[in-house]
């Protein structure tokens, strides 16, 4: 089985919940394990939250998400029209070890994505940021 779907999100509108809905729908059609649906939703939420939060500085207006579910793996491509930003290189590392009183609040989103996904690739093409995530269907 395989399925592909694209979702266009206006970053200036509260449209991120449409991503979770699209993931749930595909998970059901494609028979994903529940943990896989959770992890894909989480990755998209974290990317979407970052894009919405930084859209003014990044001068971005939209994100386009393509979900591609195949037998072996799910590939998620996220395209945005903001200034060049490579989250695999330009984002600071998360602090996941210091004591409770010293632990900074925030900065976990990309760390979660990098850890949960099998592959995270970035490229800049035609004035757009393209982030590609791959997650294997079986752990």
């Amino acid at each position: 089985m395989s399925a592909t779907r694209s979702i266009h999100i206006d970053l200036g509108a509260p449209e991120l919940p449409r991503l979770a809905a699209a993931v749930e729908e595909m998970a059901e059609i494609e028979g994903w394990m529940p943990d896989l649906a959770f992890q894909i939703q989480l990755a998209l939420d974290e990317i979407g939250d970052n894009l919405v939060e930084h859209r003014a500085q990044a001068q971005s207006t939209y994100m386009k998400v393509t979900l591609d579910s195949q037998d072996q793996a799910v590939t998620v491509e996220v395209v945005d029209d903001g200034i060049a930003f490579d989250p695999t290189a330009d984002a600071p590392a998360a602090d996941v070890t210091s004591a409770l009183e010293d632990r900074p609040i925030g900065g976990l989103g990309l760390h979660l994505i990098r850890t949960l996904m099998n592959k995270v690739d970035y490229r800049r093409e035609d004035g757009r940021n393209i982030l590609t995530l791959v997650k294997h269907r079986t752990p």
Binding site: L16, F38, V96, E101, I105
Partner: protein, 112 residues
């Protein structure tokens, strides 16, 4: 998202239900502040019916853990589902927050 608070022995037990993401993290934060204010009891956050949480919700949990620690109140989280337990571990929260498998175990650590 729903937050229900009850007192059990010497603890406040807060049962969290539903989904927490950036769309309702502020509401979740206010709900936890309200639930824990006007009390000096330790807090158990029972996540048995928590279906989903993103880093926006993890921020609220970390803020709550810091605030309870600074007033010397115990804080225990219990009954995490597998994918949520995974993200707590990946985030290093299991090193700084007491996480228990069940509400009974959580309440037992509050007695100690």
């Amino acid at each position: 998202m729903n937050v229900n608070t009850e007192t059990s022995g010497n603890s406040l037990v807060i049962a969290l239900d539903g989904r927490v993401d950036s769309s309702n993290a502020a509401e979740f934060n206010t709900a936890l502040e309200n639930a824990t204010a006007d009390s000096d009891l330790g807090v158990v956050l029972d996540c048995e019916n928590l279906q989903y949480i993103s880093s926006a919700g993890l921020r609220v949990i970390l803020t709550t853990a810091k605030s309870l620690q600074s007033s010397q109140r115990k804080f225990v989280i219990c009954t995490l589902s597998n994918p949520i337990q995974d993200i707590f571990v990946i985030s290093g929260f299991d090193q700084i927050i007491n996480i228990q498998g069940s509400r009974a175990e959580a309440l037992a650590t509050m007695e100690a």
